[in-house]
């Protein structure tokens, strides 16, 4: 499906760097180029999420799909990492910390979404969710690629055990589960908005030329 389209698009674009003809499609290629692609991917996912969220919230039914719906956030274990962050803190993040926060967040979010996929009712929803998860997986890999090309280690630990994400007890009833699902989608949306700004910032700090030098220094 479309996820393969993204992958091939990424690979093709990455392979087109003129300065490094000897390199083939690997994560070692130009971080500047990958940052741009990761940025593009977050915008694409944001667009996809709008449709997915619309469909999912309609499945949950009113009031969940009402535009002014604003339920309380009950303090069940903070399962989904929050994108909300103090402005000065955000500005002061190192490139490594910035990328790591994104990587960890999307890994966890992907895990929760996959659990959702297993439980959801209609075939149409399952199909859309599967498609979105594939794209989100692409984003996680893309961020990982940027981190590797800049020489940063990937944050430790897999994105949660297959049985379910760590640390969060399942919702005690169906209504609370619907609320959890609502907040998951909201948090995903907030992260995609934030990531666009994160990657925009990174773009300005890591131009392609700098990266070429770094790679040459490493003997490529």
């Amino acid at each position: 499906g479309d996820s393969w389209g993204i992958f091939t698009f990424l690979c093709a674009a990455l392979c087109n760097l003129p300065a490094l003809p000897a390199l083939n499609c690997s994560e070692e290629l130009g971080a500047g180029q990958s940052i741009q692609q990761t940025y593009d991917l977050t915008r694409y996912l944001e667009h996809q999420l709008r449709t997915l969220a619309g469909t999912y919230l309609n499945y949950l039914g009113p009031p969940f799909n009402e535009p002014d719906f604003n339920p309380p956030r009950l303090a069940r274990a903070e399962r989904v990492p929050s994108a909300t962050v103090d402005l000065d803190l955000w500005r002061g993040l190192t490139d490594n910390a910035r990328l790591a926060a994104n990587y960890r967040a999307y890994s966890r979010l992907l895990c929760y979404l996959r659990v959702l996929d297993g439980q959801v009712g209609t075939a149409e929803l399952r199909h859309r969710l599967a498609h979105f998860c594939a794209s989100l997986q692409g984003l996680v890999l893309s961020i990982g690629g940027v981190m590797s090309s800049l020489g940063y280690p990937l944050p430790a630990g897999p994105a949660g055990p297959p049985a379910g994400p760590p640390g969060a007890p399942p919702a005690p009833n169906d209504f609370l589960k619907k609320m959890d699902d609502f907040w998951l989608l909201k948090e995903l949306q907030t992260w995609l908005w934030r990531s666009a700004k994160d990657f925009n910032r990174l773009k300005k700090k890591v131009p392609p030329a700098v990266v070429t030098l770094r790679l040459e220094a490493r003997g490529f």
Binding site: P62, R73, L74, F175, M179
Partner: protein, 371 residues
Amino acid sequence: PLSVSPAAAPAVISPQDPTLLIGSSLVATCTVSPDFPLKAEDLYWTLNGRRLPAASYSTLGPSTLSVALARLNGSRQQSGDNLVCHSRDGGILAGSCLYVGLPPEKPVNITCWSKNMKDLTCKWAPGTEGETFLHTNYTLKYKLRWYGRDNTCQEYHTAGPYSCHIPKDLALFTPYEIWVEASNRLGVAVSDVVMLDILDVVTTDPPSDVHVSRVGDLEDQLSVRWSSPPALKDFLFQAKYQIQYRVEDSSEWKVVDDVGNQTSCRLAGLRPGTVYFVQVRCNPFGIYGSKKAGIWSDWSNPTAASTPRSERGAGGCDPKGGEQNTTLRRELKQFFGWVKKHAYGCSNLGIKLYDQWRVWLQKSHKTRNQV
């Protein structure tokens, strides 16, 4: 609205997430947690976002409000109707999902087919028109007739929403019993059992290498050639084939039915100077001595060819060449065969030459009549 994050839920609804039959009534209660400074009169109810009338409320205690719902309709969404208890300012205190519907009906019309005796795909129809307020789960089960164990099909939706595919470990020569179970929150319904032998429902791939070509200069004929499907070549069966063809700009297919076990056929009575689309399909008739017909394969991809320019009418399939098969022509053919063998240098004498002469004859007849 409340945006505080308390440790306990602000209120509790009972019943929590009940399942009900359409038309039933329900009394639900909302009890505010003792940590909360709310009274029964500070509460109200909504169902799927719509405020319920105060007339249906009843105060059961200082912090408990109930609501009476009568003659419930089927759930608006399969995830359940949202019954919510609110505080006066609109904040959500608790919610309960109501699942209102009907038990499933027996699935019907189970049909199955096996591709090359390697697998089995079955499809069925839901009992009701498919409209269901509750999510319905379908499970296809099968077992060999005289052996105890039930098996469950795992791969669903392979041929539409109500289908399942059994990819392997299928036995031949013993009939299978197959049935579908439908279940939802209100109950289970089991279809009638269908009994079938894999050999009686075999289908195969469409014939491969379908070639359509002209027959010399004959303006009303096309020759169709194909190969039998390779997957079944090791099994004993007499294939039956069917050809369908149509002119390029028509949607009406003409079917040639009585194509036996051959892998070629000549279409006659066609319109000259016309493009035709031709498709062939195969039926593995009599596989392993089964007396029953198998299931027709899909049609092969359409192959196009055009007849040479001129005129006529009708339709049918001719293994040798239709009305050309006169005694005279047969004798001529034999003569030319003899000539080829015994008279050196007359190598371009042949039945083809005779056919071309006939075409020329027809043309010159026409021009003579037109003048």
